[in-house]
């Protein structure tokens, strides 16, 4: 077995044409995916999208129908899971209840023939890294959810794997703890430099943590990009809808370009149909008599509802054609409100630089 320590280079993962069917349903449909060496890549998708199936295939827990998975130059798709040498954090943590914290973390080292003194030292070092120094003698049932999470993490990286997999590791934690752990995981990733594949259905978590996000739906890779690109230039309606909040307005092809009703939104492009994606936080109240110009698009509608949400307020504006526009503004920034009460006409502005165009009809 190769001696693998934390200082070893991380390994890239190359997935080609990976297919897995359950009956007539494709859980993975010819997926191609490259995970760069040392990057934090998130598989993001709704439940049943195939993201977990993909992670399990990388770990070796399910047997794909066809395709290739390479760690570096080595084909691993035929290798059983215990020979793949990847760390994994499970959603349920999967800590062994009959073993102490130290025995859990030491288990992979023991299997690799690391002697007791060195094992104890490395276990303690791993515990320090996850800020649980001195917890080794405790039983698993004596730990809180957050502490179990950390132990599971320590067990996954203690043997120096060059690939780390995480299956919704934070989903069992409450919101506050989850947000703190997101930052900590990010820190840890930077420290270890290990190639990390992270599965979540939480788009905010994906945006917070990832170097790149692979959006997966219906067993297919929909878009693979950096978080900012995913958010600001979604590839299609599914991505635009799944990541962040948005309202989609159908565009028509007019003489001068792509039109929303009688306003020109963008130059004509190839393709059947197009939609305008409007992010709630990019909108602002415009003056009642404001008109669209080279910089701004002005939309008019009826103010239906405003909802106080703490750090911001959400307004719903019903456009003339019945589409409801979600519109977020800071609670301190209501001063530029045109004073419209519920049921009154308001004008809403959108900078042309914030325009997002996606192919396809809106649903």
């Amino acid at each position: 077995m190769k001696a693998s320590t934390l200082s070893d280079a991380a390994l890239p993962i190359a997935i080609r044409d990976l297919t897995k069917r359950y009956g007539p349903v494709y859980a993975l449909n010819a997926v191609d995916l490259d995970v760069h060496s040392g990057e934090f890549l998130t598989l993001l998708g709704p439940s049943g999208s195939g993201k977990t199936t993909l992670l399990m295939a990388i770990a070796g827990f399910n047997r794909p129908d066809s395709g290739s998975i390479k760690f570096g130059a080595e084909e691993v798709i035929l290798k059983p899971p215990h020979k793949r040498d990847v760390g994994m954090v499970f959603q349920s943590y999967a800590l062994f209840p009959q073993m102490s914290v130290a025995d859990n973390i030491g288990f992979p080292l023991k299997l690799r023939g690391v002697g007791a003194p060195e094992r104890a030292a490395r276990v303690e070092e791993a515990l320090e890294t996850v800020q649980l120094g001195g917890f080794g003698a405790r039983g698993i049932d004596q730990l809180s959810g957050g502490q179990r999470q950390r132990v599971a993490l320590a067990r996954a990286f203690v043997f120096g794997p060059r690939i780390l997999l995480m299956d919704e590791p934070l989903s069992a934690l409450d919101k506050k703890l989850r947000e703190r752990m997101q930052i900590e995981l990010k820190h840890l990733h930077r420290k270890l430099g290990v190639t990390t594949v992270y599965v979540t259905h939480d788009q905010r978590e994906a945006l917070t943590m990832s170097d790149r996000i692979a959006v997966i739906n219906d067993g297919q890779l929909v878009q693979l990009d950096a978080p900012e690109v995913i958010y600001n230039a979604p590839a299609n309606a599914f991505v635009a809808d799944f990541i962040g909040e948005s309202t989609m307005l159908p565009l028509t092809r007019g003489a001068s370009g792509l039109m929303y009703r009688d306003q020109k939104i963008a130059e004509t492009r190839d393709g059947e149909s197009w939609s305008l994606v409007v992010r709630p936080e990019r909108l602002f109240f415009a003056a009642q008599d404001a008109q669209s110009d080279d910089n701004t698009i002005v939309l008019r509608g009826t103010l239906r509802e405003t909802v106080f949400q703490g750090e911001s307020e959400m307004a719903l504006v019903a456009l003339d054609n019945g589409i409801e526009l979600a519109f977020r503004f800071g609670t301190g920034a209501t001063t530029n409100s045109t004073g419209g009460g519920l049921g009154e006409q308001v004008a809403v502005g959108l900078n042309r630089k914030d325009v997002i165009i996606i192919p396809g009809e809106t649903t």
Partner: protein, 293 residues
């Protein structure tokens, strides 16, 4: 009196509620009292009754004097331990197999385990007699196939008793064991494999310890039931396998000696309780029997 608003009424309501729940236990208490405690006390009383009608230990002393009693206890424990071991050897792999199946299929197979459970004990025991006897199906078939020349003695001895008892006891082992195995999270074995354990190593390091409480619970049930077993050794043992219960019957039928029979019963009861007590000390029995974590 200036008590807090509605305090007395609320407290009375609470007490009434507790009493009504407590009353549910009364029928069971009556049954336990009538058909367990009273006869048991009578059993104790009889066992200490001498020939002259006064208090005496002679029934117990008899047990230490005759070597046959010693042999009977040895046989009883031998049969119980061997039956339990056979049940583990047969039941563990079967329960493991069932636990790997999707629940719907496991239900079908479980039915096969339970079906004999629902037929009469006597019917099953005599069925084994038919199968195992000199000219029974098994001997005839084996000789036709040339597995052995002369009919094997499969019944009216220890072999027959063990075969019959293991068959009858198997469900008692499988049910708690299967239950414990079902509760083992799939991720546990995945985690063990992921950390580098091959399937055999993963089984012994992770799966087996987690299934152990179920196995201990099942084994204890089987062992304790075996200690007091009567029908199967009587029918399949052919008088050669004499367990405590068989001896009790023999004493009553031949000598009508209630005192000696009672003393034997008391000793068996004490031995059984002692076994359970020791097991509880070693295995944290309440966790095993009641599935507490």
């Amino acid at each position: 009196m200036a008590s807090a608003a509605n305090e007395t009424e609320l407290r009375r309501q609470h007490r009434r509620e507790q009493l009504s729940i407590l009353s549910l236990v009364i029928p069971a208490l009556v049954v336990v009292g009538l058909i367990i405690l009273i006869p048991l006390s009578w059993l104790f009383y009889l066992s200490f009754l001498g020939d002259d009608g006064g208090f005496s230990l002679e029934n117990y002393l008899k047990m230490t004097q005759y070597k046959s009693y010693y042999r009977i206890f040895i046989t009883t424990f031998q049969v119980s331990i061997l039956t339990t071991m056979i049940c583990i050897a047969l039941g563990y792999p079967l329960a493991f197999f069932l636990a790997q199946l999707p629940p719907r299929w496991a239900g079908v197979f479980m039915l096969a385990v339970l079906l004999p459970f629902w037929t009469s004990l006597l019917v099953r025991t005599y069925a084994w007699l038919v199968l195992l006897q000199r000219k029974g199906i098994i001997n005839e078939f084996a000789m036709d196939m040339g597995f052995w020349e002369k009919p094997l003695k499969l019944v009216h001895n220890m072999t027959g008793t063990l075969i019959g008892m293991a068959h009858i006891m198997l469900p008692f082992l499988i049910l708690p064991l299967y239950n414990a195995m079902r509760k083992i999270d799939r991720d546990m074995m995945h985690a063990a494999a992921n950390l580098g354990a091959n399937p055999v190593r993963a089984f012994w390091a992770v799966y087996f310890p987690l299934s152990l409480p179920g196995m201990v619970a099942g084994s204890l049930i089987v062992f304790v039931l075996c200690l007091g077993f009567y029908v199967t050794p009587a029918v399949l043992g052919g008088g050669r396998v004499i367990m405590v219960s068989n001896q009790i019957t023999a004493i009553l039928e031949n000598q009508f000696d209630w005192g000696a029979a009672s003393a034997l019963g008391v000793v068996l009861l004490v031995a059984t309780v002692l076994c359970l007590f020791l097991a509880a000390r070693f295995f944290k029995l309440d966790a095993a029997l009641f599935g507490r974590d």
